[in-house]
Amino acid sequence: MHDQTIARLSAGLAAGEFSSEELTRVFLDRIERFNPGLNAFITVTEESALAQARAADQRRRRGEAGPLTGVPIAQKDIFCTDGVRTSCGSRMLDRFIAPYNATVVEKLNAAGAVMLGKTNMDEFAMGSSNETSFYGPVRNPWDLDAVPGGSSGGSAAAVAARLTPGATGTDTGGSIRQPAALCGITGIKPTYGRVSRWGMIAYASSLDQGGPMARTAEDCAWLLGTMAGFDPRDSTSADRPVPDYAAALDRPLEGLKIGLPEEYFGEGLDSAVARAVDAAIAEYRTLGAKILEVSLPNSRLAVPAYYVIAPAECSSNLARFDGVRYGHRCEQPKDLLDLYTRSRAEGFGAEVTRRILVGTFALSAGYYDAYYLKAQQIRRLISDDFQRAFEQVDLIAGPTSPTVAFNLGEKTDDPITMYLSDIYTIAVNLAGLPGLSLPVGFVGQRPAGLQLIGNYFAEDRLLNAAHRYQQATDWHARAPVAFA
């Protein structure tokens, strides 16, 4: 059962082949067996999962089941879960029991999905390798010496290792797509505003976006259909209907115009990853797509602009962690300043501290124009590049990440090298566009991913293009030997 997709499990539940309780136990057993080696989960909610599973089985008997009713999933530990620790991978929130559910959690609960637990992540979603987590790094199921990517590395590893058929993630600069690529699974970052951010602990509010991670585009379509939608509690939520993503999956690709940005195939791209991406493009040609060259001339400015905008917004968002209302508080504060400064210093790890400092500096008196304003102007240039490209093509394709998964510890001493691991994903967040990563091959035993980028609210087209590819290939069906 554990090797089945959500679509298949849903059909099995509907046909009465197994109950949700049986299914949930299969995954809980696998988590118990494999999680100690992978560290993909921070919290396993065994009791509530079994209660949810039994409720789902009853709901099915009443004839009220939907496609996700009784299907186990995992939540990234950035989404608030009522009554369950929501740590965000930080010591700051190690003992934080959320008093409410994020909208995404509410929606999945309402659909009858069963939450197995909360997945590990880079602290406050700041990282590309999952090594900044207070709970320790996650290992890549394909190669235990490798990182799973980040920040949604726990979700990616859990899906790849068949500890859950699907999971939620969040993506501020690549945090769904890069770990999806490095773990050989499928993940989609929707258009900014498509999925509610309410109850999703904020990192950089103008960039953060939640989305699903699963083995196939079809499963992502099912999950996204449930997660997406207008939420009056999120003031940046997009007020437009959610299309039936699953219904659009089979659309033929004849005539689909896919653009290859020359800037995504240049210096820095590993040649073996390039070969896997080229082969995927060739497959798209076979499927009837027309391949064109496009240019995104300001691509090289995306990482620099991101490291102003994201830290600036994080320094503001993380000001709320002050040791007063919730979260870590230092022992024996001698005065209020001491309470703030020591609680925060003890609660935050080094990468979070670095980004708060950079952001505080960029927003400090006299520097606003040179940093934040300049970065926002570059954001416009990057967005304009994409819009010019979308006048010529329907989708843009390229590598998700310049390399396959790197080794644990390989980049921890040099933040800049780590930042460049998101060189192809960051521009998509700056522009607010949807992006999807799907597995397209291996370099040695480590997976490589293809990124597809669409215009605003073109999630249906992205999922459709990924699904057709997955109907014609089997990269997405490969399982790491130790977890097959």
Binding site: N298, P304, L336, Y340, V358, Q377, R379
Partner: protein, 95 residues
Amino acid sequence: MSLGPAEVAKIALLARLAIREQDAPAYARDLSAILELVARMNAADTAGVAPMAHPLDMAQRLRADEVSEPDQRERFQTIAPRVEAGLYLVPKVIE
């Protein structure tokens, strides 16, 4: 732009972060490297470019100024580090 340990200490105070003196040089080095990366922005001519605050250029949606949330003070205070009589306790601010 390059930052030294003294500047890091100043920024850390603004950010309300107690950085240990022995850690300041490492943060100064990392922050300087990040600002060097960020300085690549200067290669772009952005004269007259309208800054982009929101990907879809949407304005913040407003709602009527009406009470929409019930009072859950007790519930929220169960996760607070220290409370007394419905108040959050902090060290004495006024002598």
